[in-house]
């Protein structure tokens, strides 16, 4: 743990809203994408020398987005500055920077909207809080739109449902367009486009990793648990975040998925071409980029001839799979291009397409096809961290809120000791881990540590009261982020893990072969 140049926020005695500290995070800036990274994605490679060129291009893109996205247009017009969102953002609670209040973050963009796209802002800019787009303001966009994890917590409480995530995505899309991209996100997009996963892990390396995993598991369990890759005609294609292939604790969940398939006797495969569930195209709100990444999965499913598509533990990936895949790639009902029609014929209509791995496992548990030794998890006192994109941007099962119940049901089916964190920090009111939406990069460590503060505070309570020693979650970013920030708050980094890690511990694999 490196020495930090800033103090870790102190837990509050009672949850009062902190006083604002103007400019507290004005210095926070992620690394700017290099020309090479930008070029690979087809974005302008760098900011133009002449500010006027950048200015005109940014305003032009802004106008284009206003015509394409009703969310952006309605959200720009509808805010009344009521203040309901001001204390809802984890970055505000952790940093106290007023520009991390959702409304103030939006105002960075809305002030420009008013100036260029409304009569009131053109005529009386200072009266209505309108301002010209300047280089300084664009820099401020870069600073503060990269302190938003697009977690949508503010949108839950807004009387008009204004979702800052939509505003942040639009702002980043404009920044990309003028050559002001963020290195972390755009570099990863380059890798997934070129190689098929965010880690840039090529097919042979993936094959090696999976073979090694099979050998380890044979040694540990005595069973031949398989991690099939590119198997034609398998029943299920599993698409999972590539972090699952070797990062800790992610791989523990991958082990869990394999054991579930093994115990249920369902044939499955991974794809080396589509070896990534994550889709960072969402973070910058670039529809075409997101579509390009999503089409890889459709192509893999068609080539492998699978009947079902299941998505592993990943928050934003599940949002895209659940809510966007049908739109982007026709994976679901209703698309009428030849590939989509072929896919619809191929996929088994008895199952939801795509399904979340938790829906998959829970169905098997309900059918009695999986058995568990719950006592195997007795050394763990477990709590569950709802990941934002699963909680507020997707669903599992047949009813609203299934995304909260199904993971909890699985935990309770495989373990005996489970407690909830404070009600205003879970389910739809869950706090982001602090690393989502493209923030999970080293140079943003201050925003990440401070952004994790509300979750750490709620976790500390259940650790103190119930001795919680395991926080389960179903998101690769949450897992990576917590592994990094937990130690700063005095916790063991191994306190975080996946739901299928718990499944893995308790599942009965059958008679030894």
């Amino acid at each position: 743990m490196a020495d930090l140049e800033f103090p870790i926020p102190k837990y509050r005695d009672y949850p009062e809203v902190p006083a604002i500290k103007a400019g507290a995070m004005a210095h926070s800036r992620p690394h700017v994408a290099s020309e090479k990274i930008q070029e690979a994605l087809g974005y302008q490679t760098k900011l133009a020398e002449d500010w006027q060129v950048t200015h005109d291009k940014a305003i032009g893109k802004f106008g284009e987005l206003l015509g394409k996205y009703r969310s952006l247009k309605v959200f720009m017009d509808s805010c009344v500055h009521c203040g309901a969102c001001t204390d809802k953002c984890h970055y505000f609670i952790g940093t106290n920077d007023p520009k991390n209040m959702p409304v103030a973050r939006q105002e960075l963009m809305r002030s420009v909207y008013r100036r260029y796209f409304t009569l009131a802002g053109k005529m009386f800019p200072s009266l209505v809080g309108a301002q010209d787009l300047t280089k300084e303001l664009l820099d401020e966009w870069y600073t503060y739109f990269w302190q938003c994890s697009e977690c949508r917590r503010c949108s839950v409480f807004c009387p008009y449902g204004i979702d800052t995530a939509e505003v942040t995505m639009a702002a980043r899309n404009i920044l990309d367009t003028v050559g002001y991209g963020q290195k972390y996100t755009n570099e990863i997009l380059g890798k997934v486009n070129k190689i098929g996963n965010n880690l840039g892990l090529p097919g042979p390396a993936l094959e090696n990793t999976l073979e090694g995993l099979e050998e380890d598991l044979k040694e540990d369990t005595g069973f031949d648990i398989k991690y099939p890759l590119d198997v034609q005609g398998a029943e299920v294609l599993l698409v999972t975040p590539s972090a699952d292939f070797f990062a800790e604790p992610h791989i523990e969940s991958l082990i869990g998925y394999g054991k579930v398939f093994h115990a249920a006797g369902i044939s499955w495969t991974l794809s080396s071409y589509a070896s990534e569930a994550g889709n960072f195209g969402m973070f910058d709100g670039d529809y075409e980029m997101m579509r390009k990444v999503a089409l890889r999965i459709r192509k893999a499913a068609l080539e492998l001839g699978v009947k079902r598509i299941v998505v592993g533990e990943c928050g934003h990936a599940w949002r895209i799979a659940y809510a966007f895949w049908n739109t982007l790639s026709g994976l679901g009902a209703g698309a009428n291009d030849p590939f989509a029609i072929e896919l619809q014929k191929q996929l088994d209509p008895r199952y939801k397409q795509p399904s979340h791995i938790c829906e998959f496992t829970w169905d098997l548990i309900q059918q009695g096809r999986l058995q568990f030794d719950k006592e195997a998890n007795d050394h763990r006192i477990i709590t569950f961290h709802d990941s934002c994109n699963v909680a507020r941007a997707s669903r599992m099962g047949d009813y609203p809120g299934g995304q909260f119940e199904i993971p909890r049901n699985i935990i309770k089916a495989v373990a005996n000791k489970y407690v909830e964190m404070a009600p205003d920090t879970i389910r739809e009111a869950t706090f982001c881990c602090g690393g989502g939406g493209g923030i999970l990069t080293d140079e943003l460590v201050e925003a990440r540590i401070k952004g994790a503060f509300p979750r750490m505070e709620a976790l500390q309570q259940v650790v103190d009261q119930h001795g919680v020693n395991f926080m389960a979650t179903i998101c690769a970013i949450c897992k990576a982020q917590f592994t990094k920030v937990l130690p700063y708050y005095g916790f063991n980094m191994r306190l975080v893990g996946g739901v299928h890690q718990l499944v893995s511990t308790a599942i009965r694999l059958g008679n030894e072969q």
Partner: protein
């Protein structure tokens, strides 16, 4: 003066109707390319109608978000609603029985409205975070609305105006006849401010009123696995 107000109200009403209709058309024609309801969300259109009704009538999200803002905001809006319904009596002749029944509620709702506005305005000074996000126009809107409330209530509770003549004036406007408007200071202030509100409405944050109905996070059903959402411009990309 009668002529001035007659022209003003024709103008203000025209701007209000045309401006608002244009904004609603603008919202409606802009596609929502992705399914983005804030979940958990209803899975059916009927469910969405219920969610929207709760949002518009009870301010459900705001209630979850902040009780003080909810209290003042709800008092103001419900007060305003009751007051507006009562005002129908100046535009309908004869007055139907249900509207007569409504009279006392609409009358005292003025205090609800003013109290709510007062609370909202106080928060703009007293709460540091809200002071930070407040623009001059936010103050001016509150001043305008409170001005309308107080000048209106003054005519009911302090110094009566010849309401029969006022009604004759507005009924006349509706059939393009100009009847004399009583010269009463509270009435003049009241009508000037109302006309100003009508004119500014389509250019201001008051667009939250139509906006909420078009908010994709609230008006979309949560059914993306069953139903494909595809905007025209996105369908165009698929052809490439």
């Amino acid at each position: 003066m009668t002529l001035f107000f007659a022209i003003l109200f024709y103008l203000a009403t025209a701007l209000f109707v045309v401006g608002l209709a244009y904004k609603i058309y603008d919202f409606a024609r802009t596609p929502a390319p992705l399914s983005i309801p804030t979940t958990p969300a209803p899975t059916t259109t009927t469910g969405v109608a219920f969610r929207m009704t709760r949002e518009v009538v009870l301010f459900e999200s705001l209630f979850k978000g902040n009780l003080w803002i909810w209290l003042f905001g709800w008092l103001f809006h419900m007060g305003l609603f009751l007051v507006l319904v009562r005002h129908l009596r100046y535009f309908i002749d004869p007055i139907p029985a249900w509207l007569l029944f409504f009279q006392p509620f609409g009358k005292y709702a003025a205090f609800m409205m003013i109290a709510g506005l007062g609370g909202l305005w106080a928060r703009r000074f007293l709460v540091e975070r809200i002071r930070y996000i407040t623009t001059p126009s936010d103050h001016l809107w509150l001043a305008l609305l409170i001005g309308i409330g107080i000048s209106g209530a003054a005519m009911t509770f302090v110094s009566h105006v010849d309401v029969v003549a006022v009604k004759a004036f507005f009924l006349g406007l509706m059939v393009f006849e100009i009847n004399p408007l009583p010269a009463h200071p509270a009435l003049i202030i009241h009508l000037l401010l109302v006309a100003l509100l009508l004119i500014l409405f389509p250019f201001s944050k008051l667009l939250h009123a139509p906006g909420v109905f078009f908010s994709p996070t609230r008006n979309q059903a949560d059914n993306p696995r069953e139903k494909r959402h595809l905007a025209a411009w996105a369908a165009q990309i698929e052809k490439n």
